[in-house]
């Protein structure tokens, strides 16, 4: 379990997030939602030790995150940033990068590493394109390759910063299905999402932020019913049943 206590953090000593107290339960999907600039990414960066907090502490199973050596931490926590440099390498090689925290001084992947990479490629359904260069792939395919790399990293906790942004609707839904697969494998997933319907319909918990603080952190239904989403985003919302489906979808529109 990863826990953030009394966190305030920001850039150049200016606070972006403050009074953050939150714990992410094992084997769940949490979506962090909120307006642009409210501190969602900063929260993820602090939780994954990419940004040192101005005050407060982040612990993993009771251990202070900053005291964990970087490679050991990389075997526990993975972070997939939204904006990435696209390297000029094959799918297989990129997924193999996920094994970096496990490689010894020679940096030579062992049989076990190769097996894990193969399995990650298989789970993400990338077998047919594993020899292709990342540059040749579509946005959706690339995202799946990065998720395969994260899977190969074999961490219990995965932070994803806007994993569906810039993707067409088909790929968005496909990526969300992939994320559910990760949960089935026992991973704890915390992701920033802009699409409120996706956040509410595919998460176990939703964390709504505003102006650097957590407004509500609860189950999707409770967050929806609290009316806080409508207040903060200045929208109206309703739940719409889908024919032949058990779950309802969430619709948002301007007042």
């Amino acid at each position: 379990m990863i826990k953030l206590s009394n966190i305030s953090a920001g850039y150049n000593k200016v606070e972006v997030i403050k009074h953050i107290n939150i714990g992410f339960e094992e084997g769940t999907i949490t979506s962090v939602i909120g307006k642009n600039g409210c501190g969602k990414t900063t929260l993820l960066r602090v939780a994954s030790n990419l940004l040192k907090p101005l005050s407060g502490s982040v612990t993993i199973v009771g251990k202070e995150i900053s005291s964990i050596p970087s490679k050991e931490l990389a075997r526990k926590v993975a972070f997939l940033p939204q904006i990435r440099t696209v390297p000029n390498i094959t799918v297989n090689n990129l997924v193999m990068h996920g094994r970096y925290p496990y490689l010894d001084f020679s940096r030579t992947p062992q049989k076990k590493d190769k097996e894990i990479v193969e399995r990650a490629i298989e789970i993400m359904g990338l077998e047919d394109i594993k020899s292709k260069n990342i540059h040749e792939l579509s946005g959706g395919q690339r995202q799946k390759v990065y998720l395969a790399m994260v899977l190969a990293q074999d961490t219990d906790i995965i932070f994803l910063d806007e994993p569906t942004t810039y993707l067409d609707i088909n790929h968005q839904l496909e990526i969300l299905e992939v994320i559910k697969k990760l949960k089935m494998l026992g991973k704890t997933i915390v992701m920033v999402l802009h699409d409120l319907n996706s956040a509410l319909s595919c998460s176990d918990r939703v964390c709504l932020m505003d102006d650097g603080e957590i407004v509500i952190y609860d189950t999707p239904q409770d967050v929806f019913e609290s009316g806080e989403i409508d207040r903060i985003f200045k929208v109206c919302s309703s739940q719409v049943p889908i024919e032949g489906e058990l779950t309802k979808q969430y619709v948002f529109y301007l007042k």
């Binding site: 990419l50 990389a74 696209v86 390297p87 000029n88 540059h135």
Partner: protein, 347 residues
């Protein structure tokens, strides 16, 4: 290169497969050995292979052939090989670590730092060539440390390093020009340094710089996989457990050691550091584990070839190798750009 492609197609090698990479390395090693032989053999006096072997076996210091080989040809050949290898590997490291197609040793202040110290020592402590070599090396390293410490204050991002490099180079350039204005008699040494070349190289001058080049090259090879991880971008690399800031600093120092050492005995042959890594990337792709050795071999071969041409084209007159490099390398690079081979440049 097209021959290599045809050859690889004929023997059915997939690009980037282990056997393809091994074939490329083997062919380049053969080419380098041939280049070394030509460089020792050709000159004002032609020496055949059998004569070379005989002279070296006898080791007779009174024999003219032996003296030419050991005191002129071998130091010169070794200088070209070392300089080509060092500058190319330095360029490959910088282009990868800074993710910038235009990165070459000059971008992190190596040239300007070495240039200033060469001029300073010529102007105020005219103590001899050996010390000029050390001064150029120290100047290059100091300039890079200055560039990095300024960039670090703004987070040491790739862009901060490039911009800080431009600013520091400009400032140091102004200092060099001031010294040249006040002491115009050192301008000749300045010109020789700017053009670069290998005439008059001795083993004594090489040994100091050569040690640094071999050391930095080995470390670069060891860290080549980490360089691949760094290419994923800062946050992804950090998330994989890489200490991005210190590793980038190590790579900058390695690049500065390589280029500074080469510049210290060969003058400014910067162009090789820009184009060879690009050509190597077309051959073997972006994996630094293979790119670094291929850049080293290709850089050595290209520099040897240029030096050979510099010696024989207008014999008995010799033209500085830097001029040949730019005459050959410039149009070739333009040809590659126009042909627009995919993967030539970073996006």
């Amino acid at each position: 290169m097209s021959m290599l492609r045809k050859f690889s197609t004929r023997i059915n090698l997939n690009k980037n497969s282990k056997s393809y990479n091994a074939t490329v390395i083997a062919l380049l090693v053969l080419l380098l050995l041939f280049g070394v032989f030509l460089s020792i053999s050709i000159g004002s006096t032609r020496i055949s292979l059998s004569e070379i072997i005989r002279a070296m076996q006898q080791g007779d210091n009174t024999s003219t052939t032996y003296r030419i080989i050991s005191y002129v040809r071998i130091p010169r050949t070794l200088a070209a090989v070392l300089a080509g290898c060092a500058l190319s590997v330095s360029g490959a490291i910088l282009q990868s670590v800074l993710n910038n197609s235009l990165a070459s040793p000059s971008i992190i202040g190596v040239n300007s730092g070495a240039g200033l110290f060469t001029v300073l020592i010529a102007a105020f402590f005219p103590v001899g060539v050996y010390y000029t070599t050390i001064a150029a090396f120290v100047g290059a390293l100091l300039a890079v440390l200055l560039v990095y410490s300024i960039a670090k204050k703004t987070g040491a991002s790739r862009m901060a390093i490039v911009l800080s490099g431009v600013a520091v180079s400009s400032f140091i350039g102004a200092m060099t020009d001031t010294v040249l204005t006040l002491k115009p008699d050192v301008a000749i040494e300045r010109t020789a340094f700017l053009i670069g070349g290998f005439s008059g190289i001795t083993m004594g001058r090489l040994s100091f710089a050569g040690g640094f080049i071999v050391f930095a090259f080995v470390i670069a090879l060891i860290l080549s996989y980490d360089m691949n991880i760094l290419a994923l971008g800062d946050e992804s690399a950090k998330s994989l457990g890489l200490n991005v800031t210190s590793l980038r600093f190590i790579f900058l120092i390695l690049a500065a050691m390589l280029a500074g050492s080469a510049i210290s005995f060969a003058g400014l042959l910067g162009f090789v550091g820009l184009i060879v890594p690009h050509v190597s990337r077309i051959l073997v792709g972006y994996d630094n584990r293979i790119l670094i050795p291929v850049s080293a071999l290709l850089g050595s071969i290209f520099t040897l070839l240029c030096d050979l041409l510099a010696r024989v084209l207008f014999a008995p007159f010799e033209i500085p190798v830097g001029i040949i490099m730019s005459f050959l390398g410039g149009p070739f690079f333009i040809y590659l750009l126009i042909k627009g081979r995919r993967g030539l440049l970073y996006d």
